[in-house]
Point group: C2
Chain length 353, copies 2
């Protein structure tokens, strides 16, 4: 099965033997307060910083999912309100979650073909956390580094939190331009689901300590205190952490991966632009995602593409949210090989050219 | 390494090949809203009920850890207060967590050599949830089925929630006698950490719907609504669910496992009673745990036992909480083989008889 689903997505083939290694090396039954676990976490944190270009003074945390990260950040870094800028389902969901916990939280929707309109944003000075999705998996858009820099320059007081679920470990994100970045591992990390990675600036940790929310098992201050000893607040998915370590040891630095993904994205956008019966959901090239492509057509055609692909052992991503039925999504993640995209191209050329 | 640590603990050797099967069968990259995942969850739920003697009308849920279950239950099943009955660290921690979320929550500590004193409990009628630990991993005590029945008979209004982390999937628990039971999988399930299983009575779900707490990503009503379609509220540890399915397929029903563990516990208690220099932490045979034995001695001896054992590739459990330095714990979990206990006995006979 060729798997282009944008998450859970194709895992690196090496995962197969690394899981066996984890068993053989005793990681699956090792106490999470013991030296073997601590050593694993220490090495994994170090590799994450080195390979993903994370500033040395940022703090790394593990959570169960990016969804849990949404909640951790609202609970531990806001007392009154966050502000959410979104153009798709995941950014909007984060806003909905935030409003349940902090009803004063606000949201601003921008168009899928627009750049995030930083200069138009009216964010009140009592906003504690500005939240957005760097790469919106639901519609295949992304927010550029320049836009993030502009956002940071305009709003210097609030913390900025970035959901980078479908770009972290794939794109060379400039983490210094925001306070919190997080992602689950079943996208660009090329790993099985059940774990998320979060990076926090010293300023974010400072605020967490000021707010001192100590009500939840996953309160950020508790997570911080435990991670000073390279431990977690609960018995974690140790295998998941082990797999991050092994995969990162193999991979080049993210700058190299970004270059390859960027080239491949350009190639895929060129390739898919030749078809008459479907278009890109996102017309504005400037905001198109490098890691998730969304193709739009009439519902019958889209349904036909997905079913026929599956018949040929090719799994494409369903559309999502508003675009559930008239789009199909194609992941451009590091674990997927160039030759797999060549096969995908042959499939499209054969049936839809 | 022989591993008698009471969690994370020895995993079944079959896990090694089952992980490879999970990869080969495409479970690691399968979408968590897709048919393959739904089918897996449906089968796993069915097996859990069948093999663990869970009433057919109970609802099964997956969470990341038993610690998360503590929080889910307090958030979703209490508005004002819970009541916690404990004699050790884990029961007490649950009480502490509850008090942070619901400050009116109350706790009652009983002695480690006492049966839970059901008739003396003064639990006010506005208590929404009564919480206790069936098997207290920190000190090696357990609460009997008769005591749980008495508790249920005395307090018919409040829901009863049971942390069965180190007994579920090992002992033949009478789930009908309480509303909520939960455990993480790194103890008697014999699996790697990163997943918990929770079973809820229809009454518990009814209360959850009445309270209608819809503020958290892991609100019980959301979990319930998703599980109607055999799905979770976030991208879960799919491999963990797969491993539950595979292991349960292999195992006999829990009644058979309970019998074997009970016999082995009796044998181990007899064996360890012959040593002059250390005793059981728990003197009252009636309340001794069948799955976690705690041996008490002076700190120097305990330290010597643990270090010498490790030198012989035997991992024993550290003491915990109050008993961190003067006890050593031995797990009696299903994944550990009889011959491994024979080797453990030879070690003790050789050095400490």
């Amino acid at each position: 099965m060729l798997n282009f689903y944008p998450g859970p997505s194709k895992v690196y083939p090496e995962v197969r033997s690394y899981m066996v290694d984890a068993y053989d090396e005793g990681f699956l039954g090792t106490p999470h307060r013991g030296e073997q676990f601590v050593q694993l976490t220490r090495e994994t944190v170090s590799l994450l910083k080195q390979k993903l270009n994370i500033p040395q003074d940022y703090y790394i945390f593990f959570a169960s999912s990016a969804t849990e990260c949404w909640e951790i950040l609202i609970q531990s870094l806001t007392k009154e309100k966050s502000f959410h800028i979104y153009n798709g389902s995941f950014g909007e969901k984060w806003c909905e979650y935030a409003r349940r916990l902090r009803p004063k939280s606000e949201g601003f929707r921008f168009g899928i073909n627009e750049e995030m309109p930083v200069s138009q944003l009216e964010i009140s000075s009592d906003t504690e956390l500005i939240c957005f999705t760097q790469n919106e998996t639901s519609n295949g858009t992304q927010v550029s580094a320049t836009t993030i820099l502009n956002l940071q320059n305009r709003f210097r007081n609030a913390l900025i939190a970035v959901d980078a679920t479908s770009s972290m470990a794939g794109l060379n994100l400039k983490l210094i331009k925001a306070d919190i970045w997080f992602a689950s591992v079943q996208k660009c990390f090329g790993l099985p689901p059940g774990l998320a990675v979060m990076a926090c600036s010293p300023r974010a940790i400072f605020r967490a300590k000021q707010i001192a929310e100590r009500v939840h098992y996953n309160s950020l201050v508790f997570m911080y205190e435990k991670m000073l000893n390279h431990q977690t607040t609960y018995t974690p998915n140790t295998l998941g952490i082990y797999l991050i370590r092994r995969i990162l040891e193999d991979r080049p630095i993210v700058k190299t991966i970004d270059k390859a993904l960027t080239d491949r994205a350009a190639d895929l956008y060129t390739f898919f632009s030749q078809f008459a019966d479907f278009q890109f959901l996102i017309e504005n090239e400037e905001v198109r995602s490098k890691t998730v492509l969304a193709l739009q057509g009439n519902e019958r055609l889209i349904d036909d593409i997905k079913k026929r692909a599956l018949h040929h052992n090719i799994r494409l991503g369903n559309g999502y949210g508003l675009w559930a039925r008239n789009t199909v999504r194609v992941a451009n993640f590091p674990a997927i090989l160039d030759e797999e995209y060549e096969e995908l191209k042959r499939f499209f050329l054969h049936y839809y050219a």
